[in-house]
């Protein structure tokens, strides 16, 4: 699946997008954040406060306990500040 990062999450991770293949044990958004966190310092920094991070699956907002099975694109970003 494709991951996208925006704003300071993008800056901290150090890239705007990447393609990953998480193991089957990674079922939810929360699981995915935990799995990403142990991939290196940049990820650990980006996701150090997981409660602040917002996520979208296939362009719709989702909650931390949403199951990621079937997702084509998952995005992580800080709370929105548009408008």
């Amino acid at each position: 699946m494709k991951l996208k990062y925006f704003a300071w999450v993008r800056e901290r991770v150090g890239k705007a997008e990447e393609t990953i293949e998480p193991p089957a044990s990674v079922r939810t958004i929360e699981d995915l954040i935990a799995w990403l966190t142990q991939r290196g310092e940049a990820y650990a920094y980006a996701f150090e406060k997981p409660k602040v991070i917002r996520a979208a699956i296939d362009h719709a907002h989702v909650k931390p306990d949403t199951v990621i099975a079937g997702a084509r694109e998952i995005a992580f970003f800080p709370p929105m500040t548009g408008g």
């Binding site: 996208k4 925006f6 979208a56 907002h61 970003f77 500040t81 548009g82 408008g83």
Partner: protein
């Protein structure tokens, strides 16, 4: 029929032109409310510019969802949302919301509803430049509270 226009663009918008497009050839509109959000320059240590980042594939879909909800809630003749992205300096326009209805309360309420949701749900992020560098604008609890008041209880 409710005419809907949603655009995300780097260039400025012209309110008079957007209203004319919305109202053209119709005589069922009694009220048009416009909201323009403008880049301020006078906060604290002086913002010299804002840069707006967005999630292109999601932004228009997310705005569309809220426009559809506004149309379901209020009798609207038309809705226009234009959100700018890129680097903006103080005094420049950021966002435009236009609502048209036969009745003024519907137009006012729908415009406020849409602005509250744009602030908290549309995938846009503001980075501020000031004398000491740049930083990402933090989301404000008061914006979440403003959006929450529209939730049906």
């Amino acid at each position: 029929m409710t005419s809907v226009t949603i655009r995300i663009q780097e260039s400025d918008f012209d309110i008079a032109r957007e209203i004319a497009l919305l109202a053209e050839g119709r005589t069922d509109i009694g009220a048009v409310v416009s909201f323009s959000g403008i880049c301020r320059g006078s906060d604290g240590d002086g913002v010299s510019a804002l840069t707006l980042e967005h999630y292109p594939d999601m932004a228009e879909a997310e705005i569309r969802r809220h426009v559809d909800e506004a149309i379901a809630r209020w009798p609207l003749n038309g809705v226009t949302v234009v959100h700018r992205v890129g680097r903006l300096t103080p005094g420049q326009n950021i966002v435009l919301v236009l609502t048209a209805s036969a009745h003024r309360q519907a137009a006012f309420q729908a415009a406020e509803f849409l602005m509250d949701y744009l602030k908290t749900s549309a995938p846009f992020w503001k980075q501020e430049e000031n004398a000491s560098g740049s930083n990402w604008v933090e989301a404000q609890a008061q914006d979440d509270a403003a959006a929450a008041r529209w939730t049906k209880s």
